[in-house]
Subunit: 432 residues, 2 copies
């Protein structure tokens, strides 16, 4: 029979077991952190009516989308978790308790050219806190959560915070409102252009005087700097007050200086209206962020008149994993999910199955190495897999009720009854 | 602005928060059970090359598939987790340690007519144990795992076990090999046809004598019955021996009689070659199964010459949830994921944020009710959400370091330092 070559689509991450275990561990830590913050889980479909999903999209977004028809139905795969959440809020608006604080972890799809490790299928981990009147405390809470996630992942990061109103005030001051989208788009590309080229393009767009003002504001290093500029309009002042207050709250939260003012943060999406933030690796040079978010004023306005303001952010889990992996910053030593491997001797196999079930009932992940290989091969298998503890069980053990538990790292063997062995693992936590 | 109607595609399950929490709890329990059995996680893409995914498919399967092209690429959404796993094994065949025991929990897609609650997007939870020579113990292990899953979900089920070789032997005995697929297809529809109609169709197909033989074998109630039939060919005898031995193993595993012989189990998929099994609700009348699996002899033969035999099964999580929900068998009382809600009094808000972070560090899911509403409204909110414990924190508490923790069910208030409050929750487990 002719064989078909087994292969994956370009841009679709599929991990071998030892990597998948680490990836799942990261995913589980993120979810645990979200649950520790008392967020609700939401799970929306991967496919949506195109009309619903593309209500707001256009241009680049639409080109990237996996869209097709089946029967009479025109449908799309989701390209983020925000639009489906807006739809979800519109559908469930009367069932939700506000503020509604949700998380969603799921795969999203962007059929862009797969270049330089760009992923076409990737996990996003989103949080949104929506209410009729989101306060600065919701912003502080989001930054607190995102900070907690990276602390729990043990990944050093910098959280760069800005407020869109400040830059809007600056543009207003220089009478650039009519081209503000163009300016923001250019500013957003700052890290992707050479500095000279960026400055020339910006000067061509806004003129020399505004260039000077904009670049000075963008390089402000702390809140006090904001007082130095001569700008004094409502937008600017509001933005300044908001960010001041936000920083006061954050300073009390013991975030270990993981956050900083950075007015060069733009965030491409046009629905942000106030605070915006981005998260970057502290120790890896990457010119794009691994998480970002901000405040918006009308989440679901394409679907409903109910005013839903909110603050949200998204963590690019697959991207983070991919970067860490490519920079050799992950140790893939641990392979097994079992804590205990039981190797049967002689006719004790069904007894081994029984013991394994007892250990599992006591929350100890266990496998029986029952396959038809010599003892030595089974030990090899357990070693290659990295199972941390081994029990060899034969008739003697079955009769005496005394078992040996070998720590494969130290070589030490603990001997005792099953309940004593179980006690050794008490307090350990199953899973990733 | 014109609003677009927010709606979901027919056949796509999207749950409101209180239901999502229960669903996620079930999913987490299944995953925990898989991990307790020491299985490896695998996560394959939702999209695949059509050529790869449809290597074996045809007929009905192909019609149901979401298939489309983007650029030059012809691709499909996965319709199960088995074919992607076969591809995964072919790609990673030299990296895997055999026996390779994996689980995967993910959504799959079938664009069939959405009728009678048929889902087009649904979660499957798959387990496969593959090796070069799968033994009966792998079959026993799969049945042990599936039994454990439903025990942990607290869902009473019956596991019906058959062996394909037995029926094949019967068909051989009656010289029906040339139409065996037709016969098996008809037998598989038994529960969907009226009995009279089924028997007439079967008689037309196989004749009166075979009809009698087949129906007698199919209604065998225990292993001993298998000795009563006059059939005595290699297939039949092999099947009989295998199922006998399997039942002997299972009897030692303390599965509380959740399994039974049922030779009317067919399993539509043509790749099963020996033991097959199906799981049905014990207490709900459903004419189709909620889980099923069996042994196969060539998992990845479309992609590789490496012989990979195995045993696997799939649990239809979305379907199970949907049936339980429609039969009003789920209590959706619990809404909150937080254990503790903190309500600030006066100017204590940032202190509340601090305390919340301390509780979270001690694995206690906590939220601060910081939104701008009067105290009573916040208590209402906490009650509606079902947050089990409330702390009201003002300046007094902040200064004294003494806090009150109110159990919202009993009304009892525990007073003490933060570390005493933390101690109350020790041993509780975060998550679902």
């Amino acid at each position: 029979m002719n064989k078909i070559i087994a292969r994956n689509l370009a841009g679709f991450l599929e991990l071998e077991p030892k990597k998948q275990i680490v990836f799942d561990g990261m995913k589980a830590k993120i979810e645990q952190t979200f649950l520790l913050h008392g967020l609700y889980p939401v799970d929306t479909p991967v496919l949506e009516h195109s009309e619903v999903l593309l209500a707001k999209a256009g241009g680049e977004t639409e080109k990237q989308i996996y869209r097709f028809t089946k029967g009479d139905t025109d449908m799309c795969m989701r390209f983020d978790l925000t639009v489906p959440f807006a739809k979800y809020c519109a559908i469930n608006q009367d069932k939700l308790l506000y503020p509604f604080r949700r998380y969603q972890i799921g795969k999203v799809y962007r059929g862009e050219r797969a270049q330089k490790g760009r992923l076409r299928e990737f996990y996003q981990c989103d949080v949104d806190i929506i209410s009729e009147d989101a306060s600065l405390y919701s912003e502080a809470e989001c930054i607190n959560i995102v900070s907690d996630v990276f602390k729990n992942l043990n990944i050093p990061v910098v959280i760069k915070i800005s407020n869109r109103k400040i830059l809007s005030g600056v543009l207003e001051f220089y009478n650039l409102n009519h081209i503000s989208n163009q300016v923001l788009n250019l500013l957003d590309k700052k890290d992707k252009l050479e500095l000279d080229k960026f400055l020339t393009e910006l000067e061509n767009l806004v003129g020399a005087s505004a260039l000077d003002g904009i670049t000075r504001v963008m390089s402000a290093e702390n809140i006090a700097d904001l007082e130095k500029f001569e700008i004094n309009n409502e937008q600017y002042n509001q933005g300044k007050e908001e960010i001041k207050h936000l920083f006061e709250i954050l300073q009390t939260l013991n975030l270990n200086n993981r956050f900083t003012l950075d007015l060069s943060v733009i965030r491409g999406l046009d629905y942000y209206t106030g605070t915006i933030f981005e998260v970057n690796f502290a120790n890896i040079n990457q010119n794009s962020s691994i998480s970002g978010g901000g405040r918006y004023d009308s989440l679901a306005s394409n679907y409903t008149n109910k005013p839903l303001t909110g603050v949200g952010f998204s963590i690019g889990l697959s991207r983070i994993f991919d970067i860490l992996d490519k920079n050799n910053l992950i140790e893939f030593s641990k392979q097994a999910t079992s804590w205990v491997g039981i190797i049967p001797l002689g006719d004790s196999l069904t007894h081994c199955f029984e013991i394994a079930n007892v250990l599992r009932k006591n929350h100890i992940p266990t496998e029986v190495l029952y396959f038809n290989k010599p003892f030595k091969k089974k030990m090899d298998h357990a070693n290659k897999k990295g199972i941390p503890y081994i029990m060899v069980v034969g008739e003697d053990e079955q009769i005496s009720g005394n078992y040996g538990l070998k720590n494969m790292k130290t070589g030490h063997v603990f001997e005792g009854e099953l309940k004593e062995i179980i006690a050794i693992f008490r307090g350990e936590k199953v899973g990733n």
